[in-house]
């Protein structure tokens, strides 16, 4: 079956939008700029829907002929071609759909910023790169998108570049990601190596790789672990997660789109896309699952004590990404990806909600200075509440289904080298933390009394919004911003319907997993326990623990126990300090990696290069030549008397020498 859907336009239109706004945007009105950018996102969305429907109509994949050969050398060839299959279709829908909503939101959020056109050019460029990443027909194009989203992330984190902290955060993100890319590159090289060793054609297109999957058996662990270094960089997993919390320096719509809903899930996409490699190495699967589980818990604990609303959400994102890796790591690819989708909805909603609050409070991000916003900003508050319930795993909300699926699959898996119950326990513990810190944020932000002053807090006044609305009354944000919130909240609540578990009455198969099953044929042999009553019992345990934790959080931050946080902090001072300072991981990296590299580079320059190589070797050689010259010069003074003296002495010396013999 052939289809005429021009899917390359899904990728190229955002690029066109970026080019138009980037080159000429300076002369356009804000309406025109936003219009172009939104259109360059909306048409791809419609095309993605069309592609999705075509796939649902029975098409296995949409793979038009490549546009052209990008480069080819010595039997190695990279085609510029795009493919949409069942896995990609989910991502294109999420990326373009949520991308479009965030474009709309940004049109209002960024109003009046002097870099308005630049912002939308970057945002479109990001979508282009992201779509390249997910739609590229081979590993190299994925890498292109991979680096491209990194660049856009860099540009958007440091968007307000006049402040060094923002520029620093952008640089940190880029360089940390480059550490990951180093692994990605070496992984690619090993794949090529395995192909070359066995005489297979050196094609990195995913279909060929899957067809040749057998040749990677010996190197599967090496390849997968290297690739996972890349995934851990992009998707902010331990130990490369450090850039994501700092990335919150970017404008909030960016945090929602790039650093929550789309780009950071690229690592999960990669593992899922290359599932046929990962399933060959239980070792690699175990590492993925363990890193995911540990990150889920570790990041969740850091979310406890953050006071910047975006930072809490950032650690929460790191933690949720950990869940997704746990899912794909235990071989539950469908479950992991389902969490990607539900998370995209509720986390984008949470971020945009926080943006709405920040906008209304003139760039206040400290939750200690918020409170009581429920009545003033009802739409923001309600959507935030629904998303909080979704992320906390409140039964029947989207996050409940996806998280529970991952937890159960982690428990039931028979692939990883660590026992399933251990992964499950860590996951549940992380869920308990999640429920706690999310309820805390909600209470501090929306409940109780407003704790902020009225006439201060516009520290970031260079960002231009403050001229547009008065400082006095706090009120709900305009429709451009609340409409996306409402749509996303609907997704956060009902998104779970796409993946209703098998135990729900009338749903013998999970639609979402069934949809993806053609992509994960290689994962079919993976075994899981099949015990519905145990599944339900474990679910009851995790749900009740989360509910308890949410209740405690409510009591401590909005109920009768509001004196408790301070008391507990005082009683457990060392632990509190440790967590409050995020375990000093940033400081550790600075002291153990960054500073030594800088010091070593200065040592290389001053001591080795200027001192040893140039000083001793180069100038030393020149010095020896110079010295020999001076010595020889003594003999050629042109002074006849001196020549005669030397001759005379010489003759006598020889004579004595000869006679003495």
């Amino acid at each position: 079956m052939e289809t005429q859907i021009p899917i390359h336009l899904i990728v190229l239109l955002p690029l066109l939008g970026a080019a138009i706004n980037g080159l000429f945007g300076r002369r356009f009105s804000e309406g025109t700029i936003a219009g172009i950018a939104c259109l360059a996102t909306f048409i791809p969305f419609m095309l993605s829907v069309q592609a999705f429907l075509a796939l649902q109509g029975g098409l296995e994949r949409i793979a038009p002929a490549p546009l052209f050969t990008w480069f080819a050398s010595g039997g190695f060839k990279v085609e510029l071609g795009f493919v949409i299959d069942h896995l990609t279709s989910i991502f294109t829908l999420v990326v373009t759909g949520i991308g479009f909503l965030i474009h709309l939101y940004s049109a209002k959020y960024m109003e009046g910023d002097e870099g308005f056109y630049k912002f939308f050019a970057y945002l479109n460029l990001f979508l282009f790169s992201m779509l390249m990443l997910i739609m590229g027909e081979n590993l190299i194009l994925m890498f292109v998108g991979w680096e491209g989203v990194g660049l856009c992330s860099y540009l958007l984190i440091g968007f307000w570049y006049q402040e060094n902290a923002n520029a620093d955060a952008g640089k940190k993100a880029f360089i940390t990601n480059r550490v990951g890319d180093f692994g990605f590159l070496l992984g690619i090289f090993f794949i090529l190596y395995a192909l070359a060793e066995t005489g297979k054609p050196m094609s990195l297109s995913f279909t060929d790789l899957q067809a040749n999957a057998g040749v990677f058996a010996g190197l599967a662990t090496t390849i997968c672990l290297l690739l996972f270094v890349g995934a851990a960089g992009k998707s902010a997993q331990v130990p490369l997660y450090v850039w994501l919390p700092d990335a919150m320096a970017g404008p909030t719509p960016v945090s929602a789109l790039i650093h929550a809903a789309t780009m950071v899930t690229a690592g999960i996409y990669m593992v899922a896309r290359l599932n046929f490699l990962f399933v060959q190495s239980p070792m690699a699967m175990t590492v993925v699952a363990c890193v995911g589980a540990f990150t889920a818990l570790f990041a969740a604990t850091m979310g406890f004590l953050q006071n910047d609303i975006k930072k809490v959400l950032a650690y929460s994102t790191v933690s949720q990404l950990g869940y997704m890796f746990m899912g794909v790591g235990v071989g539950a690819f469908g479950a992991g990806l389902f969490h990607v989708v539900t998370h995209a909805f509720f986390k984008a909603c949470l971020f945009l909600g926080s943006g709405s609050v920040i906008y209304a409070l003139h760039h206040e991000q400290d939750i200690r200075k918020m409170g009581g916003l429920f009545k003033k900003m009802p739409i923001t508050a309600w959507t935030f509440l629904l998303s909080t319930m979704a992320i906390a795993g409140f039964p029947l909300f989207s996050g409940f289904f996806s998280k529970d699926e991952i937890l159960w699959k982690a428990f039931a898996n028979q692939t990883t080298l660590v026992p399933g119950w251990a992964l499950w326990s860590v996951g549940v513990l992380a869920a308990v933390c999640t429920a706690f810190y999310m309820v805390r944020v909600f209470c501090l932000t929306f409940l109780g009394e407003y704790r902020g002053g009225h006439n201060d807090h516009h520290g970031h006044d260079s960002h231009g919004h403050d001229d547009h609305h008065g400082h006095g009354e706090i009120h709900e944000t305009p429709g451009f911003m609340t409409a996306p919130l409402i749509i996303l909240a609907v997704g956060a609540v009902f998104g779970g319907l796409a993946g209703l578990p098998h135990w729900m009455p009338g749903h013998p198969t999970n639609w979402f997993e069934h949809w993806l099953s053609p992509v994960f044929t290689a994962a079919e042999p993976l075994k899981f326990l099949d015990n519905t009553s145990l599944e339900l019992a474990l679910m009851a345990v995790s749900v009740s623990l989360c509910a308890l934790s949410a209740g405690v959080a409510y009591y401590m931050y909005a109920g009768g126990g509001q004196h408790l946080p301070a008391q507990l902090a005082a009683r457990m001072k060392p632990l509190y300090t440790l967590v409050y300072n995020k375990y000093w991981v940033d400081e550790l990296y600075q002291a153990v990696i960054v500073s030594p590299i800088k010091a070593f580079s200065r040592f290389c320059w001053r001591v080795i290069d200027d001192g040893l190589i140039d000083g001793a070797l180069v100038n030393g050689t020149a010095g020896v030549v110079n010295l020999s010259g001076r010595l020889v010069r003594l003999f050629t003074s042109g002074d006849v008397q001196r020549y005669a003296t030397v001759l005379f002495v010489g003759v006598w010396v020889l004579l004595v020498f000869w006679l003495a013999r």
Partner: protein, 529 residues
């Protein structure tokens, strides 16, 4: 393959000598007419570029051998011939040279204020020397052009350079000259070692059989000359000094073309002339290249002067080129050739950009800047694009070359397993991002604190004209590099064949044993599996 006059019209002679003619023409113009002199030189260099285009269009991509060849007796008594030709390897460097020259002349339109006439003459002379070295197929002729390049460059730095120019010039001149002289001695050695009618034609030496010991010494002499020029660590210390002191034009031509003469020398002469020595030396070349990549990047990281940073980054980038050459695989060598062009364009552009702000502020200290984006937004865009090209972001030219070098070296199917070298070299990708982005941030981002920077003006029309072609090329070569690769590959295959075919004499048992032992490594490794 017989060399003969294949060209109806002596295109190569024309292109090579045209700049020289221009220089002579300039001598006739009185020095008071500075504008006329500049205009004339620029116009002339543009004509040279236009005249060089037929070389590209007449080039037959399917032909691996030399094309547009010219052959004339020059000094029959000792067998020196006037032999010119291009293949897929030199073609692109010729085009790069004629392309960059007008850009450089326009780029230094206002920065050269003294002895303008001499500067322009020097520059056109330099162009002739570079082109001559690239198209020479006779060792003697090559050597003449090779040494001829030194003189204008020596003057460019020594006359129009910065405050410490004399020390830098001396270091530059002496280091390059020492290497070259050893190469000359080596040339005479193989000349007397060859039987038959006297000849300096390169191709007459590609069948010459030499013992391994001889090859190693001779390769050493050639390699030293070229390694200094590249420059490879530890022969690189002249480079940062020369770059820092040279005027923008000097830096651009140095980075853009002259350094490539070193890597080109390896491809054209050192490796094909002494294939067995090349094989023995491979781990050392790859080792020095890898060290260069990482060490150069570390040195760049420590710099507080933008220009010096870019200069050290050249050491790192040229390390990639040498690594790809050492790998001797099709992909590796192709990547190396691409990196030569990429480096010429990206680093050339970087030096031009540094020149833009130097002309405005007369400082290159990173600490003197900060927040420049606010006052020079278009400059910021261009700087960012070139920075991304320099760190090999896909979509820009830097990626394809870097990827092919690294993957080609990883997959190298020669006797040496170079995978660990790649693992180390790939850390250069991280460090590259580190030093470039850190520098970019300190110069372009942050608050605009320094009062002197607040008055800076954005790019003027001339600077736009200078930079735009380079930016366009960065994207063209990043997105559609295949037209370049297609024209290179046949010649690269021919080069690989010559440079990997053993030419030891039958009686060199010791050498043969050594080579056999090295070749055995591969088989042993395969059996161990």
């Amino acid at each position: 393959m017989n060399l003969e006059n294949s060209s109806q019209f002596p295109w190569l002679t024309l292109v090579t000598l045209l700049p020289l003619l221009g220089a002579l023409l300039l001598t006739a113009v009185p020095r008071v007419h500075e504008g006329l002199l500049k205009g004339l030189a620029l116009g002339w260099s543009l004509i040279v570029f236009v005249v060089s285009l037929p070389i590209y269009f007449k080039f037959d991509p399917s032909n691996a051998g030399y094309q547009l060849t010219e052959l004339h007796e020059w000094i029959p008594a000792i067998g020196v011939q006037y032999a010119l030709g291009v293949d897929g390897i030199s073609l692109w460097l010729v085009m790069l040279s004629t392309f960059l020259t007008p850009i450089i002349l326009l780029g230094s339109w206002t920065s050269i204020e003294t002895r303008v006439k001499e500067f322009l003459i020097c520059f056109l002379l330099l162009e002739t020397a570079m082109l001559g070295a690239l198209v020479s197929l006779d060792l003697f002729l090559f050597y003449i052009f090779w040494e001829l390049m030194l003189i204008p460059m020596y003057l460019l730095i020594g006359v129009w350079g910065g405050t410490n120019r004399i020390a830098a010039t001396i270091k530059f001149f002496l280091m390059t000259a020492v290497g070259s002289l050893l190469m000359l001695v080596a040339m005479f050695y193989i000349y007397q070692r060859r039987d038959g009618a006297p000849s300096f034609l390169l191709q007459d030496y590609l069948t010459l059989s030499l013992t391994l010991t001889e090859q190693l010494y001779l390769f050493g002499a050639f390699a030293l000359a070229f390694a200094i020029k590249v420059p490879m660590v530890p022969f690189h210390t002249w480079l940062p000094r020369a770059h820092t002191e040279a005027p923008t034009a000097g830096s651009v031509v140095l980075a853009g073309v002259l350094l490539k003469m070193g890597t080109y020398g390896f491809v054209r002469f050192a490796m094909p002339l002494f294939p067995d020595a090349t094989l023995v030396a491979t781990p050392y070349i790859a080792g020095l290249a890898t060290v260069g990549i990482v060490y150069g990047a570390l040195l760049a990281l420590a710099q507080s002067d933008v220009k010096k940073l870019v200069a050290y980054s050249s050491v790192s980038h040229l390390g990639f080129v040498m690594l790809g050459l050492a790998a001797m695989s099709t992909q590796g060598v192709t990547g190396a050739m691409l990196q030569m062009l990429n480096h010429g364009i990206s680093t050339g552009a970087l030096f031009l950009l540094v020149g833009c702000i130097y002309e405005r502020r007369h400082t290159r200290q990173i600490a003197d800047f900060g927040g420049i984006t606010q006052v020079m937004p278009w400059f910021a865009v261009m700087f960012l694009i070139v920075t991304m090209s320099s760190i090999g972001l896909p979509g820009t030219n830097g990626f394809v070359g870097e990827f092919l070098v690294l993957s080609g070296t990883f997959l190298a199917d020669g006797p040496w397993d170079l995978r660990w070298y790649v693992a180390v070299a790939a850390t250069g990708v991280i460090l590259g991002a580190f030093y470039m982005l850190w520098m970019f941030q300190r110069v372009m981002f942050g608050p605009l604190k320094n009062e002197k920077n607040k008055k800076l003006t954005d790019l003027n029309l001339r600077e736009w004209v200078v930079l735009t072609p380079l930016i366009v090329l960065i994207f063209v070569m990043g997105i559609k590099p295949q037209f370049i690769i297609d024209r290179m590959e046949p010649s690269i295959e021919a080069f690989r064949k010559v440079a990997t075919t053993s030419r030891l004499p039958a009686d060199d048992a010791e050498g043969r044993a050594r080579i056999a032992e090295i070749r055995q490594r591969k088989t042993n490794a395969a059996e161990a599996k």
